[in-house]
Structures are given as structure tokens and as C-alpha cells.
Symmetry: C2
Subunit: 342 residues, 2 copies
DNA sequence: TTGAAAGCGGTACCAC
DNA sequence: GTGGTACCGCTTTCAA
């Protein structure tokens, strides 16, 4: 059933039917009611391909995942962000198009996405400290919002980010307050902007107490279980091992825990662990546990916001750039961390 | 730049330009070369909205995630499947549309997806033991492939699945061979088809040795850290606690590990753990660890296959239904499991 | 308040 | 081998 057929059944013109269905004011209310009833009766739904061609809008937003960051898609942070964005889109009648691109021809993909008009705008994931995509998208005039920030950007741009620096600053301070002096940082790849910021928060907290970060107690690698295991294992094998670990992702933290176990150490006695990007709700019930920070619900909220921001910018390009910094929902449980060694 | 403009520049008709670009044989090769050059020069890319309207194809596949299974999106299994499917789509010029639907109006969503022609077909995720969506999609004639199976289906349908039953059967056998007799199963919600199959494999292995499954040693809940913690904690507190745990997801396994620790037990000495849905590559390097099973790469392959299967079915509906069962890539590490108690 | 008709940017059939 | 033209199913002036 399409518009023309429906109009014929009603003995009306397609124009009027279209107007009635789309809430135009000039339609006789009685007519509108008849049309609405018929539409329901015949299960009419407007063809989205036709609407898109006629209006020149794609009614879709692209989420582009560089394949280099493919493990990224498995990252709960990414998934939560997507879930949040999806809520916004479905409320606004937009589709969410997921594109996985081999990073060799990233530029071609973005250019084509624009030229073919598949999507109206883009959410950029996994930004680097400096990221060529900003300039490209700005140049071709493609609306976009970055999930995260690009520290070394030279152009204004829109972004939504969680305050990674502060989250790690506070977590580090917390450990310092407990008396820890040798804290290991197991971080993501630090050409990624978020990882860079996390380290900066970590170092800032140490510096504020007059401490110099020990390079041996800092690791930067993919946030996989393997990498977490290796990093933790190496640090714990040092002559002066860390008494606490600050881990940048839940996945690496699994590896870190395993490393602790393999060395015959006990979490919460020999080592405290802080996990970022994690949410263990049972910890909220007041059970004795190590400390941790959580951002997962913040990230979902970031997804909702970023999507809405992009829709707003598409509706009114003059409103760009917009920025929004969310505080990480930092939750610190009751600590059973070790008495720090002298 | 659109087709008409490009044609004008070349002093050719839109028809010829279209044919040249789309590889029709009747075009003069010299002409084709000229057209190709101009297209590149002017950065021409055909408008996908126009193509879609003209051809009546959406060139897009929908992946629908029931919001009830929203944590599902965070599940590595889901993400890997998506990543695999994405590879297939980008090779075939298809888009992947992710739709998160509140399960209240699931039916409406599917009907509209069909009526509006947003996508050419659907991949169905998170199927239940019996799932009304099969009948609905079949009735409205919407091509689809299920990621997983629907045990109590009454209609033929297409699916791609990983052999969950066998994976859990083998894992259980492995533990039995080690001498374990009290094995705890921490499973997902068993109205979900995959979870049902996993339990069935578990029970089948026990039955083959004349053992009766102990209800106290079986848990079925969401695959969250919280649930994993609770289930493991409960089982370990029994008068006759399990000497090994078989856990259905990496996330629940984190909780299970934490429960083991909280009770002062040691993994690999007091308790063995098997994780499904997990891939710990460092375990492959021969380090002494408990046992585990892995399906993650199988799942990515499943995603590739399911996408391809759907594209084939769309191209030739007569080829449906198609089915494909993949064996889980079962990896069993060197065990450090406990000597089972008498 | 309603309708006729011209697009939107391609595809594909039919002539030449 | 190339071009003319009628769609695809809507939206959106412009007239009535």
C-alpha cells in the first residue's frame, strides 16, 4: 500500500493524504480523521526510500569504527555509547548505520558517505591525540560529533566526553590517601586521546604530592586480557612491586587479576586494584571490596547526548561547535587494600 | 555533482554515463574510460537515496536488538558477531542498520521496517526457546536469518549457530575426566535458546557417566558480574561445594572469580573454572592455567556467514531456508584444577 | 481546504 | 553504442 493507492481508496489526492498524515494545519479535521483511519486500516507506512529522496535527508546517522580499533567494538564503553545513542535516534525517527572501515581507505569512506548521502552526519569514535579526520570532515562540510576529544586539534569541533583525566586523578588520590606510594598504571594505547588524558590525571595526582611517576610502573598497550596480564605480571615481578594497580579497562583488569593470582598474591591483601570502565553493582550493596571507579552509565548518557547534539547541529549548523564534558560517575567502594609497605 | 551534471560535462546522456559506470557491456570502451575519468575528477558518487528508490532495494540489513536483551549489546559475543557481519556487508556494498527496540512494540517495529522498506532483511538476535518473531517475519514475508536457533520452532527458518550444546558437553566431560564430581553450572537465562542448549550439553555429559545433575549446583540468570558473583557465592557456601565451575560468560566469570576470592579460596587450587565466550590468547602460549573454552572467533565467523546467507536469500528467496552449525573453537588449556575431594 | 504537477537522482525499457 | 523517457513514491510549490 502506497500513498497513491491510499489516496485513491479515500477518493482524495495524494497531496491531501500526505498533508493529513504529516500533521499540516490546513487539513480539515474530519478529513484527517478519515485518512488516519484508512492508513491504519490498510497498514500504510510511508516508504522511507521515497521520503529520503524527496526530502534530501537520509534520516540516518553513521557510526564509523576504524578497523584498527576493532576490538573497540567489543569494548563495553563503545557498546554502552551505542546503546545510548540508539535511544535518541529511535525517539527521533533516525536510523543508526554502523560502518566498520579498514583504516587504509578511511578517507575514501568518509568522502563517499558524504557524496552518496547515506547518512546526514557522523559520530566519530576512538579519536587520537591528533586526528586527521577532523580536518577532513570539516573540509567536506560533513556534520559530526566526536565521542571523546582531540587534544591536539587545530580546529574547533563538537564533542561529548567523559572526564577521564579527573576520574583518574581522583582514583589516584584515593589510593594515595590510603597510603599507597607505588601505584601501577595499566593504560590503553596512549596515542588514543582518552588514554593520554587518563595518564595525565594519574601523573597530576602524583605530582601534587611531590611524587615522580616511575616509568616501570606505567604500561600502555591494547586493552586486552593478554596485555593486562603481561603488564601486571611484569610490574609485580619488580624488586619493588606496586601495592596497587590502576587499570584502564575491565578487560585488562581480568588479565591483571589473573597475573596477581598466578604470582600467589591475593587481591585486597597484597594488591589493591582500581578498575575504570566498570560497573559492579553488587559492590554497591556495601560488601567489602577493593576500590574501583565506574563510568559505564556515564558513557550511556554520553551516547544519548552526543546523538542529540548531532541532530541539533544538523537541524541548525550555526549551533556548532558544541561541547559537553560529563563527570565520570566515580564510585569508590569500601577498601580492603593492603597496608602499604614501608 | 550528480549524474545529470556529470553527463552534461561529458556531453553524453545520463543513460550512457550510468551504463558506463555500472559496467554495462554495450558501452564503448573509450567512452567508458572518459566517463570514469570524469567521475573521478569531479568526485562523483551516485546518490544512494536515488538508487534505493529507483531499484526498490534498500541495500541495507537490519540488526534488531530487543531492549530486554540490551546488556546483550555489551556482550562480546554480540559485538563479535556484528563485526563479522560488517565485513560481509562492506564487501557487498550493504549498510548495517542497528535498531534497538523496546520489546513492548516489537511487532510494530518489524512490520514498519518491512512496510517502510528501510532494510531488505533482518538478522534476528537473542532468540528464545520459542520465539514469536519467526511466525511474524515469515507471515509478512521478510527475509531473515537467526543468529542462534529456536528449539521449539514450528516453521522452517534460516539460522547460523555455534554448537553450544557440544561445547558444554565437551567442557563438562573434560572436568569429569579430571575427577570432578560436583560441577557448578552458572548459566544465562534459560528461556534464551543458547542457554538452554548449554545446560542440555552439561546434563548430557553428566548423564553419560550416570550422574544426576544437582539443582543446587545450577544457576540461571542474566550474564552480569553481579549474577555471577551471587551464583558462585551461593554454591561455594554449600555444605558440599562444587570443585569446579562452568560459567556461561566472561562477564559472569568475573563475578565468579571475585566470589572465589571473597571466600578465601584460590582458583586453580580449590576451584577450577571454565569460561565460555572467552578468548584469553595468553593462555595459548602454554602457561599453566585452568581450563576454558572459547568461541569468540567462531562467533565472528558466524557473523560473516549469517550476513552472507541473508544476502543470498535476498538474491534468491527460493534458496531459503538455509542452516549452518559451527563448532565452537574449543580450547582447553593445561589444567591446574584441584584434586577433587572424596 | 484541496488538487495538479514538478521535482528528488537515479534505473531501465524502448527506439534509433 | 547512445539517447529519450517513463517510472520509483514521496514532498512541496502554486493554483483553484
Amino acid at each position: 500500500m502506497n500513498l497513491k493507492e491510499l489516496a485513491r481508496k479515500l477518493d482524495l489526492s495524494p497531496t491531501t493524504v500526505s498533508r493529513a498524515l504529516n500533521g499540516y494545519p490546513e487539513v480539515n479535521e474530519e478529513t484527517r480523521a478519515r485518512v488516519a483511519a484508512a492508513a491504519r486500516r490498510y497498514n500504510y507506512a510511508p516508504n522511507s526510500r521515497a521520503i529520503r529522496l524527496a526530502t534530501g535527508k537520509a534520516m540516518a546517522i553513521g557510526h564509523v569504527i576504524p578497523i584498527a580499533a576493532r576490538h573497540e567494538i567489543v569494548n563495553p564503553v563503545f557498546a554502552d555509547f551505542i546503546a545510548g545513542a540508539g535511544e535518541t535516534y529511535s525517539r527521533s525517527g533516525y536510523d543508526m548505520v554502523l560502518t566498520v572501515v579498514p583504516d587504509m581507505d578511511e578517507e575514501r569512506v568518509y568522502r563517499e558517505l558524504k557524496a552518496r548521502g547515506t547518512v546526514d552526519g557522523i559520530i566519530l569514535h576512538a579519536p587520537r591525540l591528533q586526528d586527521a579526520r577532523l580536518a577532513l570532515l570539516t573540509e567536506i562540510g560533513f556534520p559530526f560529533v566526536v565521542h571523546g576529544r582531540v587534544t591536539e586539534a587545530t580546529l574547533p569541533y563538537s564533542w561529548v566526553d567523559v572526564n577521564n583525566r579527573r576520574a583518574f586523578l581522583r582514583a589516584t588520590e584515593f589510593l594515595l590517601d590510603l597510603g599507597h606510594r607505588r601505584i601501577g598504571l595499566i593504560n590503553g594505547l596512549e596515542f588514543m586521546d582518552f588514554a593520554f588524558r587518563r595518564r595525565s590525571g594519574f601523573e597530576q595526582a602524583l605530582a601534587a604530592r611531590g611524587l615522580t611517576p616511575d616509568p616501570a610502573l606505567m604500561a600502555s598497550d591494547e586493552m586486552t586480557e593478554t596485555a593486562g596480564y603481561r603488564a601486571a605480571s611484569r610490574m609485580l615481578g619488580l624488586a619493588a612491586p606496586p601495592t596497587a594497580l590502576l587499570v584502564s579497562s575491565m578487560i585488562s583488569a581480568i588479565g591483571a587479576r589473573r597475573a596477581i593470582q598466578d604470582r600467589g598474591l591475593t587481591l585486597g591483601r597484597d594488591v589493591s586494584v582500581i578498575i575504570h570502565d566498570d560497573e559492579l553493582s553488587y559492590l554497591r550493596n556495601g560488601e567489602a571490596v577493593p576500590i574501583y571507579t565506574a563510568t559505564r552509565s556515564s558513557v550511556r548518557e554520553a551516547g544519548r547526548l552526543a546523538a542529540q547534539m548531532l541532530l541539533d547541529i544538523i537541524a541548525d549548523p550555526a549551533s556548532a561547535p558544541q561541547q559537553r564534558l560529563l563527570e565520570a560517575e566515580l564510585i569508590i567502594g569500601q577498601s580492603t587494600g593492603p597496608a602499604p609497605q614501608a
